[in-house]
Symmetry: C2
């Protein structure tokens, strides 16, 4: 038998005034005398009154909730982004509803549905790996729910988004290897329909071309970027008639896999093989040698995306032109790519 929670009406009755007066008093409305305001606030506290956001949201048409869809919430990157999102949202008085798509576009569709049922005022989403079309997002747009993508976006779908300058990341990583004297640089890439992997690769190729180094096809290996993939990729590279002297990987995980293979085979890092990863995962400081990597400022991405969303929500009138925020990556140089004295 759940106790009835005390409502604004209870306060009104006990004080012999109307609910509207109570509502305004609690809302700090100017047209209420100080005297009654004090009485109301006092009684509210005494009764342990808790406003009912559902009711308020219903009436106002504003739920004060934001929706987030991530492929999965565990793992370094997304958990940090979500941390940033939650922080920024709660600072603005918003709650955050979190859904996981599990890298599955069907789930993603469901998530959108349930978020809209929950009456969120805006949605932040990073695409599932299997998402290749955007009909479900168009449905959201039709209902005028503001939408902001982050990190993983769909090529050719013009929407507001916060992304990393992945091309710059790839370029700087590769450029750093070149500066260290590496000349035959391989690349581990991810699924190319995802912007992030496509641009990281592009940065890699741009850096090579800039130095008139040909981009040779068998030095680029596309995979899902797990540790195993990195190990397999490295074996493949080492079996080449002319193996590379460095690898720029679009993920730290595959670098770790590769590193293990190199240790087994007695290939020295960074002397015989330079390595640069991507994401600056926690563990990149813990391997032997420590990994050079590109930092994505995950938490910042979360707060930036949230702020952009809140902005768009405010100017609901003209959301014709999608807006973009591009974050600059940072290169953290560590032992795995330091062949020359720094």
């Amino acid at each position: 038998m759940a106790k009835k929670r005390t409502s604004i009406t209870d306060i009104a009755n006990q004080l012999g005034i109307s609910v509207s007066t109570v509502s305004r008093a609690l809302g700090g409305h100017s047209a209420i005398s100080d005297a009654t305001t004090k009485r109301v606030v006092a009684l509210a506290k005494a009764l342990g009154y808790q406003p009912n956001n559902l009711a308020a949201g219903l009436r106002r048409g504003r739920s004060k909730m934001l929706g987030v869809i991530v492929p999965h919430i565990d793992g370094n990157f997304f958990s940090q982004v979500v941390k940033g999102i939650e922080a920024a949202a709660s600072k603005a008085g918003y709650h955050v509803l979190i859904c996981q798509s599990n890298e599955d576009v069907a789930h993603e569709r469901e998530n959108l549905e349930t978020l809209m049922n929950a009456q969120v005022e805006g949605i932040l989403v990073s695409l599932a790996r299997t998402t290749r079309e955007f009909q479900h997002f168009e449905d959201v747009r039709k209902r005028d729910v503001p939408l902001v993508f982050f990190d993983r976006i769909l090529e050719g779908y013009d929407v507001s988004a916060v992304v990393l300058d992945d091309r710059a990341g790839g370029y700087r990583a590769t450029r750093h290897l070149l500066d260290q004297g590496y000349r035959r640089i391989a690349h581990f890439g991810g699924p190319q329909h995802l912007n992030i992997y496509k641009y990281r690769r592009q940065g890699y190729e741009d850096a090579l071309r800039e130095q008139n180094i040909p981009v040779v096809e068998e030095l680029t290996i596309i995979s899902d970027m797990k540790m195993e993939d990195g190990a397999a990729g490295m074996k493949q590279l080492l079996a080449l008639p002319q193996p590379p002297d460095a690898v720029f990987s679009a993920s730290d995980f595959s670098v770790v896999g590769a590193l293990e293979v190199l240790k087994e085979r007695g290939v020295r890092v960074p002397q015989d093989m330079g390595l640069v990863g991507f994401s600056n995962e926690l563990f990149s400081r813990l391997t032997e040698p420590k990994l050079t990597s590109i930092d994505q400022h995950c938490e910042l991405m979360g707060t930036a995306a949230t702020r952009l969303l809140l902005q768009i929500m405010e100017e609901q009138d003209q959301h014709f032109t999608p807006r973009h925020v591009v974050l600059q990556p940072d290169l953290f140089v560590r032992a795995s790519s330091l062949r020359q004295a720094p």
Copy 2:
């Protein structure tokens, strides 16, 4: 100018029937003829109707939302637990509101407030490190909102909770070191008012006593368990007249810090010093040597806690007796503690 979302009333009007009929039709109520049900469902789909959970929740008194408070959502442990929570909750048709206390009891209090305002039907919480009293949780109880704690609980506060058998974890870790022939085993512990650290230590001491090995005070070092703390702790231990030959740490992070110090000083792991950590962090497989660690089944803890909460919510009548679920930890043996052939 946000388009008016289509409501149940719109459907009723267009079909010339009453809202109640529409509501029942969509709810699959038996007393509605197949014919009208079909018409309603068809039109609903055509109009892109989305039920408004706020309204339904208000009327029913059930928001279909759960609240979660974690110290922080990034990091391996909590992000995995939250993953488990979200999965279990959404399977049961619940949404999850996530708050971070930032290890601060004041935030924790605020979080409770806002979650209750949001009308969550139950709350899952893992304590902030600075929480030493439970008045704010008593307030929640008074309002009859079911509460389930996980992992970090307050000693002497009898509530429903899902916890790891930390004593068993500490015991098994230490016992493993003993089995490997280590005899002078040190311990890195965390804040002792938190159950988890207290019991891990207890398990450590139990294992020693069982073998009639005295527990010597200067071999236990209490800290915040960061990497730096581990490094400092190891230096302190090595400066002892009789340094230990192994360390059981209640956190993987401090082990990593310690490991770096050992490498600098040329102390060999596991020959001269055995190491066992706690949490089985991702990186424990990536250090050199790999770290033996205790696995906490983080995701399982999340689903277990959620299931317990849902159960308690169902039996709102007699929630007098708090219920407990205790998860058994697993020992993952790796190179850092393997002095003898396995």
